[in-house]
């Protein structure tokens, strides 16, 4: 750090201590990716910030005109924004809570079966069982969404037929519906992450507890849960950032954000403002708000994780 003076000229000709051969090789390896991300993500995001201070409505005019803070003020005056943030928060908390609780429960059961499986037949059965949990994760979100729409259909859906009702689930319980569909899709992810955590617990701990007369419930509360709790918390936090920032396909293809704007999650609000109402300025300000929230939370998460690891 103290030998900074020689830096710029010396670097190409001779191997200066700061930009040695290895460092230049490292740069050569990483520059293509950084340039790509710079051109297709960083530059567009700067352009997004620029647009957020301008009016651009392609429907009425192709001009981009200065708008000052008008688009940002709209974030606070437009009731759709506050409503959408609330809806997204509700969705995130509910779906992540279900995924973590049910997903971890399945992981503990799955570990139990896998460790208890004896003989080739039961080992095969336990593998097949595990595989079934992969399916929703592998299914493209749009396809899953349309499958659920059929399942929940008021007139022709099998759920209503089985219950003997004609409930329009997506209209009467829109939030519960999208939460369940998302939980269905993402629970396998939690299950497999937590399965790895459960499987890594030393079996001797359970044997010692069993010798002391601890039952299954006691073992669960005093060995399993405390061992996996840190991973559970991290998984929940990452899932929450993911749910908050990326929920789109499932909602778009089922409720479409409705009825009214009851399930218009934030990414959907941005998209609608830009591509349905063709108000790119307002959409850009909304997008900036979304980025501030998700990147702020995400950066805090990465930093706290790094501190824990160090």
């Amino acid at each position: 750090m103290s030998l900074v003076t020689t830096s710029h000229r010396g670097e190409a000709a001779t191997a200066s201590p700061r930009w040695g051969r290895r460092q230049r090789i490292g740069l050569a390896f990483t520059v293509p990716s950084l340039a790509f991300v710079g051109a297709v993500m960083a530059y567009p995001l700067f352009y997004l910030a620029y647009l957020s201070f301008h009016t651009y409505r392609p429907l009425t005019s192709n001009d981009v005109t200065w708008a000052g803070l008008a688009n940002y003020l709209k974030l606070f005056t437009d009731s759709a924004v506050a409503k959408s943030l609330g809806v997204t928060l509700q969705f995130t908390i509910a779906s992540v809570a279900i995924e973590i609780v049910v997903g971890t429960g399945c992981a503990i059961l799955l570990a139990n079966v896998m460790l208890g499986a004896r003989g080739p037949f039961s080992r095969l059965a336990s593998r097949l069982l595990g595989s079934a949990y992969i399916v929703p994760f592998a299914v493209p979100a749009v396809a899953g969404a349309f499958a659920w729409r059929m399942l929940l259909d008021a007139q022709f859906g099998p759920l209503n037929a089985a219950l003997g009702t004609t409930t329009a689930w997506l209209v009467e319980y829109p939030m519960a519906s999208i939460v369940i569909i998302d939980a269905w899709k993402m629970m396998p992810f939690v299950t497999f992450v937590m399965l790895a955590a459960v499987m890594s617990i030393e079996p001797s701990q359970y044997e010692a507890a069993a010798l002391d007369g601890a039952g299954a419930l006691r073992q669960l509360v005093s060995i399993t849960i405390p061992s996996i709790l840190p991973i559970m918390v991290i998984t929940a936090a990452f899932r929450a950032v993911d749910a908050f920032t990326k929920v789109f396909d499932t909602v778009f293809a089922t409720t479409g954000g409705g009825p009214g704007d009851d399930t218009r999650v934030f990414p959907l609000l941005i998209w609608r403002t830009a591509f349905t109402h063709l108000d790119f300025g307002a959409a850009s300000a909304q997008a900036v708000a979304a980025l501030v929230i998700s990147l702020g939370f995400g950066a805090a998460l990465l930093l706290s994780q790094r501190r824990n690891a160090a």
Binding site: I25, Y47, C106, L109, V142, F266, L302
Partner: protein, 283 residues
């Protein structure tokens, strides 16, 4: 019940617990599989059996008409090809760019590479819907709307940080001595990477290939925003075409959902090992 359990020996109790767990898991697994199984079932029903208030009844006759209609009325042939093009190009771009970068970050750190890596990690958390707004205007300027290029670029940039994150630990586990020996033999760092390190990191590469393919194959946001010409659409946004203002083509929608799903599910099962590895290291 509890007296029964208390009277059993420890191994017997354990077996009983395993059996109960298996039963509960089987029940949940059936629930997890129901939506897609129903989609497959609905896709081969006649319209008369599809639009009935007794959907649970097993139909007298099954049909492949909805699948045939996909290709005759809903340009699914070209959509399938477009999806393949988008997914495979995403794989190539992500793995080549991401592989090089991950290796650079793992083996040749430079001043500021830690910060660069940090930014790439934060880039994973960018809301796709926020990126698509300015990218749309940019693509319009470059005349890249209604082409798969715009979609590939958008999907790849969101996928790339994830690939780097997955691959970096794999390259760190390749023994340094192998590379040093190769460099002494006169190989350039790039040939060392392509000829020696890549083959050693095959499990990591397979994981990156699988996730990149899924990212390209399943993406809906970019194609539905960028592409209005049905000949250029991939399967995901073609599906949306089946719900028009006045009619939803349910049979075709179910069949199309299966066509979109099958390749992804088959690939995930074939590469199950890598799928699980990615779940653990990728997040």
């Amino acid at each position: 019940m509890s007296t029964l359990r208390m009277s059993l020996s420890y191994p017997a109790r354990k077996r009983w617990g395993t059996a109960m767990s298996a039963a509960a898991l089987t029940a949940i697994a059936l629930v997890m599989l129901t939506p897609m199984l129903w989609m497959a079932f609905a896709s081969v029903k006649l319209d008369a059996d599809l639009f009935t208030r007794t959907p649970l009844r097993w139909p007298d006759e099954l049909t492949g008409d909805h699948y045939a209609n996909l290709f005759t009325q809903f340009h699914f042939g070209s959509s399938f090809v477009n999806s393949l093009v988008i997914a495979t190009t995403t794989v190539l771009l992500s793995v080549v760019l991401g592989g090089l970068a991950a290796y650079g970050f793992a083996r040749y750190p430079w001043r500021g590479s830690g910060t660069a890596l940090g930014f790439l990690m934060v880039a994973r958390m960018v809301t796709p819907a926020a990126l698509v707004v300015p990218l749309y205007v940019i693509m319009q300027t470059f005349g890249l709307l209604n082409s798969v290029t715009g979609v590939i670029v958008g999907v790849t940039v969101l996928n790339l940080p994830f690939v780097i994150w997955i691959l970096k630990p794999f390259f760190e586990t390749v023994p340094k001595e192998v590379e040093e020996a190769a460099e002494l033999d006169g190989l350039s760092p790039f040939s060392v990477f392509f000829r020696i390190v890549l083959p050693l990191a095959t499990p990591g590469i397979m994981t990156a290939v699988l996730y990149s393919f899924l990212a390209g194959w399943t993406d809906l946001l970019f194609p539905m925003t960028f592409i209005t010409d049905s000949e250029v659409m991939p399967l995901t946004s073609s599906l949306l075409q089946m719900q028009t203002g006045y009619k939803i083509y349910w049979g075709e929608l179910m069949a199309g959902g299966i066509v979109l799903t099958l390749p992804a599910v088959i690939l995930c099962f074939a590469l199950q090992r890598y799928l699980l590895r990615g779940l653990r290291t990728g997040y």
